[in-house]
């Protein structure tokens, strides 16, 4: 088993591991809460993410949107998506902070065949460990939110790591730190759920009757949650209404992963037993002319 992490976090799950979690400690789970109604679209979080994680600057172009780039890349772990949607008479920006949601039931981790390439900590962070990544990209197909991005040069996959190094030092993630309107909050998952409820109540009092918290149960809840003003239009925010950690084929694969080796083992055994029972069939000695 390669070195899993450089930090002292207790581990909850390790990709492609038959061993139980080695952790004997438990601690609070943390969460980011993104209040979309407070976002002013400054994209300071994008810059802070690039700076802290030392990710390369990528040129962009004007494609008729307020959005900085078209899509996430191996070097862009956070992208503010400005979905322009007609709401009644008006056009509104239904903004999505597009980055890893750090699912409690991580589809990427379940899909990963490389031991230790994806690690989930007790504090809720799901981290990619590129040392162990083999570049198969199964995580990309396992992710219900289309977050991980493959770099064909390094043949590794990358995504937001919740500034795991900052969190280890007791700091909030860089995007939280930099947000000028406190649209992004950081704290224990419990506290953030409480805060989210208060924010939703406030929004509902202000006329956003459908306001809701996005913490989807299909992935066991997430450690980046959203307060969504128009909760009846999740798809317009580019938020899947019912994401699942293991789509049918993947959960079947999980259930059947012991089938292969055991079936082939039984096949070898059957051949051995046949040989012991019936032996080789030797041709008779050549005695005909």
């Amino acid at each position: 088993m390669p070195q899993l992490t450089g930090n002292g976090f207790a581990i909850k799950r390790i990709s492609a591991s038959s061993e139980p979690s080695p952790s004997i400690r438990s601690g609070p789970a943390y969460a980011k809460l993104v209040d979309i109604s407070r976002c002013i679209g400054c994209k300071g979080c994008e810059v802070a993410c690039k700076e802290w994680n030392e990710l390369g600057i990528e040129p962009t172009e004007n494609f008729g949107s307020f959005q900085s780039h078209r899509d996430l890349t191996p070097d862009t772990w956070l992208l503010m998506r400005f979905n322009e949607v007609e709401v009644g008479e008006d056009v509104e920006w239904l903004i999505k902070k597009d980055a890893c949601l750090h699912c409690a039931e991580p589809g990427c981790l379940y899909a990963c065949p490389a031991p230790g390439a994806i690690v989930q900590y007790e504090n809720g962070i799901v981290d990619f460990n590129q040392d162990s990544c083999i570049g198969c990209q199964m995580c990309v197909s396992g992710c219900p939110f289309d977050i991980p991005r493959f770099n064909p040069d390094t043949r590794k996959v990358y995504k937001c790591n919740m500034c795991v190094d900052r969190v280890e030092a007791g700091l909030e993630p860089a995007c939280v730190k930099t947000c000028p309107t406190n649209a992004i909050s950081w704290g224990t998952k419990e506290d953030m759920l409480g805060l989210a409820d208060r924010k939703v109540e406030g929004l509902q009092a202000r006329g956003f009757g459908e306001a809701t918290v996005y913490d989807p149960a299909g992935v066991g809840g997430t450690h980046m949650m959203y307060v969504v003003p128009r909760g009846d239009q999740l798809e317009d925010y580019d938020l899947p209404a019912n994401p699942t950690a293991s789509p049918g084929a993947l959960s079947a694969l999980q259930g059947l992963k012991k089938l292969g080796a055991s079936t082939l083992g039984l096949g070898l055994l059957a051949a051995g037993l046949h040989y012991l029972g019936f032996g080789p069939q030797e041709p008779e000695e050549e005695n005909t002319p």
Binding site: I134, C136, A249, L256, K257, K258, A261, L264, L268, P283
Partner: protein, 210 residues
């Protein structure tokens, strides 16, 4: 004077067979390594997980192309006829070496022919389901395949691997220790007359007459 041995496979047939066979073994082992954490150590044999991930699809290309060559060489001989159906109906006698009750066969018996057709179908499906996993970002204008296409391919690829692996075990067992003299047909190309008479009497007759 008749030669003591009969040629069963030509030089080209043997080369093509071993390209298919050895590449299949490589694919089976590296594939199993990806299928369960307890088997991941197998990747060490080929240089680690990343190397295994890079090599597996390329060895798959070698497998597919050599399989196509093998198919073209052997397909003429692999048509199932009445003799093969009679043989297959008596397969339980064959399995217990009760040779008196096994109908005589030509160059290939019904089981060998079914193995050929089974692997042909599997080989095609390995390729079909392998491509989305090889290049999920897109393959010559097709794709991207991320999501359900990759996940479903992965499941089908895996189940077919288990089935193909079982066929391989049977094939290697029957071709080596179960029937001494068989392996030589694939190594130096020839078999003894006694072997031919025992396993493929009609083919032996044909060869003796010509």
């Amino acid at each position: 004077m008749r030669p003591a041995k009969i040629q069963r496979f030509t030089y080209v047939e043997r080369i093509v067979h071993w390209l298919v066979g050895l590449s299949f073994v490589f694919l089976l082992l590296t594939g199993l390594a990806f299928s369960h954490p307890r088997l991941y150590w197998i990747t060490t044999l080929v240089g680690g997980g990343s190397t295994a991930r890079v090599l597996h699809p390329w060895i798959g290309v070698l497998f597919s192309t050599s399989f196509i060559a093998m198919f073209l060489i052997w397909v003429r001989d692999m048509k199932l006829d009445a003799k093969d159906r009679a043989w297959l109906a008596a397969i339980r006698h064959y399995a217990v070496h009760d040779k008196e009750r096994v109908p005589p066969t030509g160059k290939y018996n019904g089981g060998q022919k079914l193995f050929f057709w089974g692997m042909t179908v599997f080989g095609f499906l390995y390729l079909l389901t392998g491509i989305p996993m090889w290049m999920p970002e897109g393959f010559f204008g097709m794709g991207p395949f991320y999501g359900d296409a990759v996940n479903a391919s992965r499941l089908v690829h895996y189940l077919l691997t288990v089935a193909g692996g079982l066929l391989l075990i049977a094939h290697v067992y029957l071709g080596t220790i179960a029937y001494p003299g068989t392996l030589g047909a694939m190594l130096h190309g020839s078999v003894t007359r006694a072997w031919a008479k025992l396993h493929h009497p009609l083919w032996h007759k044909e060869q003796s007459e010509s």
